[in-house]
Symmetry: C2
Subunit: 149 residues, 2 copies
Amino acid sequence: MFFLKELPSQQMVATYAETYGADPAHITSALLMMRRASLLIRRLDAYFAAHGLSQLRFLVLIVIDREPERQSLAPNEIASRIDVSKPVMTRTLQSLQQDGLISLAASQTDKRSKEAALTAAGRQQLQDALPGYFRILSEEMAHPPAAGD
Amino acid sequence: MFFLKELPSQQMVATYAETYGADPAHITSALLMMRRASLLIRRLDAYFAAHGLSQLRFLVLIVIDREPERQSLAPNEIASRIDVSKPVMTRTLQSLQQDGLISLAASQTDKRSKEAALTAAGRQQLQDALPGYFRILSEEMAHPPAAGD
DNA sequence: CCCATTTAGTTACCATGATAACATAAATGG
DNA sequence: CCATTTATGTTATCATGGTAACTAAATGGG
């Protein structure tokens, strides 16, 4: 989470930009982008929390659901579609299973691995969360950020 | 940290956008912005770690340093300039003090409060980190993200 | 003035990210 | 075919964010 409510002054940016051949406009736009993205992510996190989810839990459900030809994915495959470390994936899948949103079965073909599939509750939770998710994204980009945002 | 390596398909976005009156282009650009910002933040985190800092530790040093008329700020004032909770500020200031980058003294005027000031080492650490920080921001925005980024 | 409220900081606890080290199974190649 | 290497998942530990509840001090209305 990035956050400086007031950006570095134009003078400060200009001084460093000059010295190091960087473009002050680029620096400012990078800072604005990070602040805007951070605010959006914060808003999404609050939304997911209200739905008993989190960014990662939501993404896991999406990734399993959107696989066209299959009912389940291995944790390994899920992790490769989302940029997250293996231990975090292990923990997240276990918590989703505890909450009844996915099932975790031993893989038939690879004894090291597992098969994660959506339960009916998981599919429902995903369907419940998707509309608001897209609405937030759309709203956020519909209006440019105000200066003081 | 946001991350879905492959964005939701155009069809999926279009379906939801239609149903809920959202603009598919807005949704896609929001997802791209979050991914781009996440990659940049990750890169900055790695940079700060190499300098014995973190995003927040760096921001705290900047905020104290850039105060034009004063040598020190209260934790409360620092927290109000950065968007971070009080307990995190407490912890961060203590760690910066342990590392010798700031001094923390009791406030003369308010017995509840403290005064955080940069040490010479803290000022030096900040000066060392600033050029690379601005360089990364500038580089990042200099080239538009590739499709597979 | 004094008691209630507000403010500043801290403590305790939880969520969620990472890496390192490990056990076990699969794959590979001599 | 067996030994080494690679791949999968887990555990342990750490970093860094949050909220709730607490203490102590300042503030302010009666």
